[in-house]
Symmetry: C2
Subunit: 117 residues, 2 copies
Protein backbone atom coordinates (compact mmCIF):
# COMPACT_ATOMS: atom_id res chain seq x y z
CA UNK A 1 0.00 0.00 0.00
CA UNK A 2 1.68 3.23 -1.08
CA UNK A 3 1.70 5.97 1.47
CA UNK A 4 2.82 9.54 1.50
CA UNK A 5 4.41 10.50 4.76
CA UNK A 6 3.90 13.83 6.35
CA UNK A 7 7.29 15.43 6.12
CA UNK A 8 8.18 17.52 9.10
CA UNK A 9 10.30 20.61 8.75
CA UNK A 10 13.68 20.98 10.34
CA UNK A 11 12.12 23.38 12.83
CA UNK A 12 9.48 20.87 13.88
CA UNK A 13 11.46 17.68 14.31
CA UNK A 14 13.47 16.95 16.42
CA UNK A 15 15.76 17.73 19.23
CA UNK A 16 19.03 15.79 18.99
CA UNK A 17 18.84 12.27 20.41
CA UNK A 18 21.52 13.30 22.86
CA UNK A 19 19.34 15.96 24.48
CA UNK A 20 15.86 14.45 24.66
CA UNK A 21 13.92 11.31 23.94
CA UNK A 22 12.15 11.46 20.58
CA UNK A 23 8.38 11.79 21.06
CA UNK A 24 6.33 8.90 19.70
CA UNK A 25 4.63 10.96 16.99
CA UNK A 26 7.89 12.35 15.66
CA UNK A 27 9.58 8.94 15.96
CA UNK A 28 7.36 7.49 13.24
CA UNK A 29 8.31 10.19 10.77
CA UNK A 30 12.03 10.15 11.55
CA UNK A 31 12.19 6.34 11.62
CA UNK A 32 10.51 6.23 8.21
CA UNK A 33 13.25 8.44 6.79
CA UNK A 34 15.97 6.26 8.30
CA UNK A 35 14.22 3.14 7.06
CA UNK A 36 14.24 4.55 3.53
CA UNK A 37 18.00 5.05 3.87
CA UNK A 38 18.39 1.59 5.35
CA UNK A 39 19.18 -0.06 2.04
CA UNK A 40 22.61 0.14 0.39
CA UNK A 41 21.27 0.89 -3.08
CA UNK A 42 18.95 3.61 -1.83
CA UNK A 43 21.75 5.13 0.22
CA UNK A 44 24.00 5.17 -2.84
CA UNK A 45 21.23 6.69 -4.95
CA UNK A 46 20.63 9.34 -2.29
CA UNK A 47 24.34 10.16 -2.16
CA UNK A 48 24.56 10.41 -5.95
CA UNK A 49 21.57 12.77 -5.98
CA UNK A 50 22.81 14.85 -3.04
CA UNK A 51 26.35 15.19 -4.39
CA UNK A 52 25.29 15.91 -8.00
CA UNK A 53 27.35 18.83 -9.21
CA UNK A 54 24.39 20.58 -10.81
CA UNK A 55 22.22 20.13 -7.71
CA UNK A 56 20.08 17.65 -9.58
CA UNK A 57 20.59 14.51 -11.60
CA UNK A 58 18.72 12.72 -14.36
CA UNK A 59 17.44 9.20 -13.67
CA UNK A 60 19.23 8.34 -16.91
CA UNK A 61 22.53 9.03 -15.10
CA UNK A 62 21.54 7.04 -12.00
CA UNK A 63 20.42 3.76 -13.53
CA UNK A 64 23.68 2.87 -15.34
CA UNK A 65 25.60 3.01 -12.03
CA UNK A 66 23.85 -0.15 -10.80
CA UNK A 67 23.43 -3.66 -12.10
CA UNK A 68 19.71 -3.37 -11.58
CA UNK A 69 16.74 -2.93 -13.87
CA UNK A 70 15.16 0.44 -14.50
CA UNK A 71 11.96 -0.52 -12.65
CA UNK A 72 13.98 -1.57 -9.59
CA UNK A 73 15.83 1.74 -9.54
CA UNK A 74 12.52 3.56 -10.01
CA UNK A 75 11.08 1.71 -7.03
CA UNK A 76 14.02 2.72 -4.82
CA UNK A 77 13.69 6.33 -5.97
CA UNK A 78 9.99 6.24 -5.15
CA UNK A 79 10.77 5.08 -1.60
CA UNK A 80 13.25 7.95 -1.19
CA UNK A 81 10.68 10.41 -2.55
CA UNK A 82 7.86 9.15 -0.33
CA UNK A 83 10.14 9.50 2.70
CA UNK A 84 10.67 13.13 1.79
CA UNK A 85 14.39 12.69 1.12
CA UNK A 86 14.34 13.65 -2.55
CA UNK A 87 12.12 15.61 -4.89
CA UNK A 88 11.66 15.06 -8.57
CA UNK A 89 10.18 16.48 -11.70
CA UNK A 90 9.74 15.17 -15.17
CA UNK A 91 11.11 17.10 -18.11
CA UNK A 92 10.40 15.49 -21.42
CA UNK A 93 11.49 11.86 -21.42
CA UNK A 94 13.37 11.86 -18.12
CA UNK A 95 12.78 12.47 -14.45
CA UNK A 96 15.26 14.66 -12.57
CA UNK A 97 16.02 14.26 -8.88
CA UNK A 98 17.35 16.66 -6.27
CA UNK A 99 17.91 16.20 -2.55
CA UNK A 100 15.59 17.65 0.07
CA UNK A 101 18.46 19.31 1.88
CA UNK A 102 16.41 20.67 4.77
CA UNK A 103 15.15 17.17 5.49
CA UNK A 104 18.71 15.77 5.45
CA UNK A 105 19.91 18.61 7.67
CA UNK A 106 17.13 17.86 10.17
CA UNK A 107 18.05 14.17 10.24
CA UNK A 108 21.73 15.01 10.65
CA UNK A 109 20.81 17.25 13.59
CA UNK A 110 18.83 14.43 15.23
CA UNK A 111 22.00 12.32 15.31
CA UNK A 112 24.25 15.17 16.40
CA UNK A 113 25.93 14.20 19.66
CA UNK A 114 28.25 17.17 19.84
CA UNK A 115 27.97 18.63 23.34
CA UNK A 116 26.27 22.04 23.21
CA UNK A 117 28.50 24.80 24.60
CA UNK B 1 20.75 -15.71 11.46
CA UNK B 2 22.40 -13.31 13.89
CA UNK B 3 25.16 -11.24 12.46
CA UNK B 4 27.64 -8.83 13.92
CA UNK B 5 28.37 -5.99 11.59
CA UNK B 6 31.80 -4.58 11.19
CA UNK B 7 31.49 -1.14 12.67
CA UNK B 8 33.49 1.48 10.89
CA UNK B 9 35.03 4.35 12.76
CA UNK B 10 34.11 7.94 12.11
CA UNK B 11 37.46 8.36 10.40
CA UNK B 12 36.79 5.49 8.02
CA UNK B 13 33.25 6.13 6.93
CA UNK B 14 32.13 8.32 5.18
CA UNK B 15 32.32 11.56 3.38
CA UNK B 16 29.07 13.51 3.63
CA UNK B 17 26.46 12.53 1.06
CA UNK B 18 26.61 16.08 -0.22
CA UNK B 19 30.26 15.80 -1.22
CA UNK B 20 30.65 12.32 -2.69
CA UNK B 21 28.72 9.20 -3.58
CA UNK B 22 28.95 6.55 -0.85
CA UNK B 23 31.12 3.63 -2.01
CA UNK B 24 29.32 0.29 -2.24
CA UNK B 25 31.29 -1.33 0.60
CA UNK B 26 30.64 1.52 3.00
CA UNK B 27 27.01 1.76 1.90
CA UNK B 28 26.20 -1.66 3.37
CA UNK B 29 27.52 -0.68 6.80
CA UNK B 30 25.91 2.76 6.87
CA UNK B 31 22.60 1.47 5.50
CA UNK B 32 22.54 -1.22 8.21
CA UNK B 33 22.83 1.47 10.86
CA UNK B 34 20.01 3.51 9.31
CA UNK B 35 17.89 0.37 8.95
CA UNK B 36 18.33 -0.32 12.66
CA UNK B 37 17.06 3.20 13.36
CA UNK B 38 14.23 2.75 10.85
CA UNK B 39 11.74 1.62 13.46
CA UNK B 40 9.91 4.05 15.79
CA UNK B 41 10.42 1.96 18.93
CA UNK B 42 14.13 1.45 18.25
CA UNK B 43 14.55 5.15 17.52
CA UNK B 44 12.85 6.02 20.81
CA UNK B 45 15.00 3.47 22.67
CA UNK B 46 18.12 4.91 21.07
CA UNK B 47 17.11 8.43 22.03
CA UNK B 48 16.38 7.38 25.62
CA UNK B 49 19.80 5.71 25.82
CA UNK B 50 21.64 8.59 24.17
CA UNK B 51 19.98 11.26 26.29
CA UNK B 52 20.29 9.37 29.59
CA UNK B 53 21.56 11.83 32.18
CA UNK B 54 24.09 9.38 33.61
CA UNK B 55 25.41 8.48 30.15
CA UNK B 56 23.87 5.03 30.52
CA UNK B 57 20.50 3.57 31.35
CA UNK B 58 19.24 0.31 32.81
CA UNK B 59 17.02 -1.89 30.66
CA UNK B 60 14.71 -1.82 33.68
CA UNK B 61 14.14 1.88 33.00
CA UNK B 62 13.59 1.38 29.27
CA UNK B 63 10.97 -1.37 29.25
CA UNK B 64 8.27 0.44 31.30
CA UNK B 65 8.22 3.29 28.75
CA UNK B 66 6.61 1.04 26.13
CA UNK B 67 3.53 -1.11 25.96
CA UNK B 68 5.66 -3.99 24.78
CA UNK B 69 6.93 -7.18 26.38
CA UNK B 70 10.43 -7.47 27.79
CA UNK B 71 11.52 -9.92 25.06
CA UNK B 72 10.34 -7.51 22.36
CA UNK B 73 12.29 -4.65 23.91
CA UNK B 74 15.30 -6.95 24.25
CA UNK B 75 15.07 -7.82 20.57
CA UNK B 76 15.03 -4.16 19.56
CA UNK B 77 18.01 -3.46 21.82
CA UNK B 78 19.88 -6.36 20.22
CA UNK B 79 19.29 -4.88 16.76
CA UNK B 80 20.65 -1.53 17.94
CA UNK B 81 23.66 -3.27 19.49
CA UNK B 82 24.41 -5.37 16.40
CA UNK B 83 24.30 -2.23 14.27
CA UNK B 84 26.95 -0.72 16.51
CA UNK B 85 24.68 2.05 17.78
CA UNK B 86 24.71 1.09 21.46
CA UNK B 87 26.91 -0.89 23.79
CA UNK B 88 25.86 -2.79 26.85
CA UNK B 89 27.10 -4.62 29.87
CA UNK B 90 25.41 -6.72 32.46
CA UNK B 91 25.78 -5.84 36.11
CA UNK B 92 24.01 -8.23 38.41
CA UNK B 93 20.40 -8.67 37.35
CA UNK B 94 20.24 -5.92 34.76
CA UNK B 95 21.83 -4.90 31.51
CA UNK B 96 22.93 -1.27 31.12
CA UNK B 97 23.04 0.52 27.79
CA UNK B 98 25.04 3.48 26.54
CA UNK B 99 25.21 5.11 23.12
CA UNK B 100 28.11 4.60 20.74
CA UNK B 101 28.57 8.32 20.31
CA UNK B 102 31.35 8.12 17.73
CA UNK B 103 29.11 5.96 15.55
CA UNK B 104 26.22 8.45 15.88
CA UNK B 105 28.57 11.34 15.11
CA UNK B 106 29.79 9.56 11.98
CA UNK B 107 26.22 8.97 10.81
CA UNK B 108 25.30 12.58 11.54
CA UNK B 109 28.28 13.67 9.45
CA UNK B 110 27.18 11.50 6.54
CA UNK B 111 23.89 13.43 6.42
CA UNK B 112 25.50 16.82 6.91
CA UNK B 113 24.59 19.03 3.98
CA UNK B 114 26.09 22.21 5.37
CA UNK B 115 28.22 23.77 2.63
CA UNK B 116 31.91 23.55 3.50
CA UNK B 117 33.57 26.97 3.67
Amino acid sequence: MPKQLTVLDAEVCCAPLATAAVPADAAADVAAAFKAMGDPVRLQLLSMITSAAAGEICVCDLTPAFELTGPTISHHLKVLREAGLVESDRRGTWVWYRANRSRLAALSAVLDVTPAD
